[in-house]
């Protein structure tokens, strides 16, 4: 084989391998989307129905408008609530906790970067808030919460989302602040700006795009959280991931089409956000230790 033949063969192998993986990635997502457009008799059948025929918007209408569908079984479908309450809760929780975490995290990060607020060891200990899985304390936590009246409350859940995303916020924003030259702040200080003004009017505006990336990254994590929301909420603070599991366990079987329709609604915003910050995902997930 000549050199150029070999290069062509290598390129072909590469495209083949990448395309195979692309299919593995895409197929489950395709199945979710296609099921959301299928009428109920095509949710399960052997052989499987590969394309919804004819495609229907019935599932989306049922989920979001709460209209009962005869095919899905009358009385159960009537009991279902529309997921707007869950959507509102998820939006409030995710945006609230994420905003607080990024704002507070970036102030801590500034203190660490410029004043050694936390030593290197302490910074790593901060990671434990994220790395020790919440299941190990969630039982006494729910008792404590019911005792102090925070069970099934937005505040109670929000505080936990805030705390568990704080390590990401501190580490990620610190990696951006470290890249800001100190001369800028020194100039501000000489001009008489206080420390707080330096933070809010000089440093944070300089890392604006980094703050947005951090915000979106943590939003993804808080949006998809399941365990804490499942255990610490009862009826009021239901979030979208918990709402999704309600389509389970009915007498006439699972409402797969509706569930898929809601899944699409939960997932698509996250994918858009994630693709917008695709260049920062490595930095986020590695706590700023790996950069591009």
């Amino acid at each position: 084989m000549t050199r150029s033949q070999r290069r062509h063969a290598a390129a072909a192998v590469r495209y083949a391998a990448l395309t195979l993986w692309a299919l593995i990635v895409a197929f489950p997502l395709y199945w979710m989307v296609s099921t959301s457009f299928k009428p109920s008799d095509q949710w399960f059948s052997w052989p499987p129905v590969w394309f919804p025929s004819p495609p229907t918007l019935e599932n989306y209408r049922d989920v979001w408008l709460g209209t009962t569908s005869v095919a899905a079984g009358g009385q159960y479908a009537m009991e279902m609530q529309t997921p707007f309450l869950a959507l509102r809760n998820t939006l409030l929780l995710a945006f609230g906790a994420t905003t607080l975490a990024v704002l507070y995290g970036s102030i801590i990060a500034y203190g660490v970067s410029r004043y050694r607020l936390l030593s290197e060891v302490r910074m790593f200990q901060l990671l434990m808030l994220r790395m020790v899985p919440p299941i190990v304390i969630v039982a006494p936590l729910s008792l404590y919460y019911s005792y102090i009246g925070l069970l099934d409350s937005m505040f109670g859940l929000g505080v936990l989302y805030f705390l568990s995303s704080l390590p990401y916020a501190v580490w990620m924003t610190k990696s951006f602040i470290d890249e800001v030259p100190r001369e800028v702040e020194q100039a501000a200080e000489i001009l008489g700006a206080s420390r707080w003004r330096t933070i809010f009017e000089v440093v944070l505006p300089l890392i604006r795009s980094g703050l947005v990336a951090t915000f979106m990254f943590i939003l993804i994590l808080n949006w998809s959280e399941y365990l804490l929301a499942l255990i610490l909420s009862k009826t009021h603070v239901v979030t979208l991931p918990v709402e999704l599991s309600k389509y389970e366990g009915s007498t006439e079987g699972r409402l797969f089409g509706r569930q898929a329709a809601l899944s699409v609604g939960i997932t698509v915003p996250l994918m858009i956000v994630g693709i917008l910050i695709r260049k920062h995902l490595a930095r986020g997930f590695s706590f700023g230790m790996v950069r591009r």
Binding site: A11, Y15, A17, L18, W21, A22, P28, W31, M32, F44, S45, W46, P48, W50, I107, I108, G111, Y115, L117, E120, F124, L127, M131, V132, P133, I135, V136, I137, A139, P140, L141, L143, Y144, V159, F162, W223, S224, Y226, P241, L244, S245, E248, R254, Q259, A260, S263, I266, L270, M271, V273, G274, I275, L281, A282, R283, F285, S286, M289, V290, R292
Partner: protein, 329 residues
């Protein structure tokens, strides 16, 4: 540089006083920043950890009324956890799940990153597609997996078409393969994590040693083994450690899909604790199980942190700009 230190400046002079008041202001600034975090942590974590200890030493279930009157039983509950084979199996399953997911994600992620890291046509499209599983809500993956993996679902449908006769693998209800199935789902979910970390590592490798090796006529396999792989060591360890820790706490996919079943085939530590506490309502046993799991996880995390600290230093050196490095040296 000694003059900068407050102690080195003679007290009483104007400069000295200014220095002292500055260091005092800095200290106050630091405390103001930290105070909200410390308050939240103390008001939340301390009572919770105390409660957990209390329940681990006092026999209480929700069927008894007042938890503060529960009987003190010393180490009985801990002893029953340690002698419970189900707990041991749950630990093994957690380790198998996390280990399998870590290795699977790493192998696929690294392979894909290596195939994609040099620019080629379609690179951006493949990249955007490959990160999608990580951006999917885990609970959605669980329910989509339930449709895909059903006995008469599309996965068996595809396998039947490819093999030419009816394949009906019981992905979810066969206890022998259920743990493997959820591990594979987790690998599908988190391969993008290893992929983006390894891609970032490959992209930031210095060009000179690779070019030098090419000029010397080394094959790309030898360049990979002897130049790139050693340079990637910190990134590889990072990808492995972070993935393993995350997988040890995995809950949503296993729970939503199988609740630890069939039987106890997919009952990991997290699932077992959940079942003990919220299905059997045995709060004390659940507390002791969580306590032991917590201590174990803290030990693992502390060990991981030691490793990460070392690797972070070499990473920071890698990212430090040559000019800065010259200044520091």
């Amino acid at each position: 540089m000694a003059e900068v230190l407050a102690g080195a400046v003679p007290a009483g002079t104007a400069a000295g006083r200014r220095e002292v008041s500055r260091s005092r202001a800095v200290r106050r600034f630091k405390w103001i920043i930290l105070l909200p975090l410390l308050l939240t942590l103390f008001s939340l974590l301390i009572p919770v950890l105390l409660l957990q200890l209390y329940f681990s030493f006092h026999q209480w279930t929700v069927y008894l009324s007042s938890w503060w009157n529960a009987d003190f039983v010393a180490f009985d509950i801990f002893a029953s956890v340690f002698t419970d084979p189900r707990f041991g199996w749950a630990l093994l399953r957690s380790l198998a799940f996390a280990g399998g997911s870590t290795i699977g994600c790493f192998v696929f992620g690294f392979l894909l990153a290596y195939l994609i890291y040099r620019p080629f046509r379609g690179q951006a499209l493949y990249y955007a597609l490959f990160i999608l599983p990580m951006l999917t809500v885990p609970i959605v993956i669980a329910y989509t997996g339930q449709m895909l993996l059903d006995r008469s679902g599309p996965l068996n449908g595809i396998l039947s078409r490819l093999s030419g006769h009816d394949v009906q693998v019981l992905w979810l209800s066969n206890p022998d393969i259920a743990l493997l199935t959820v591990t594979l789902l987790d690998i599908w979910n988190w391969t993008p994590f290893s992929f983006i970390i390894m891609l970032a590592g490959l992209a930031s490798l210095p060009k000179e040693p690779i070019e030098a090796a090419q000029i010397l006529g080394a094959s790309s396999w030898r360049i990979f083994l002897e130049v790139q792989l050693p340079l990637l060591r910190p990134v590889i360890l990072l990808a492995l450690i972070l993935r393993f820790l995350d997988a040890m706490g995995a809950f949503p996919i296993i729970w939503a899909l199988l609740q630890g079943g069939p039987g106890t085939a997919t009952e990991t530590l997290g699932i077992y604790i959940y079942i003990t506490t919220w299905q059997d309502f045995n709060v004390s046993l659940g507390a002791a199980q969580s306590y032991i799991t917590m201590v174990m996880m803290v030990v693992i995390v502390l060990g991981a942190i030691q490793l990460l600290r070392k690797e972070k230093r070499s990473l920071d050196q890698m990212y430090a700009k040559p000019a800065e490095a010259g200044e520091a040296g």
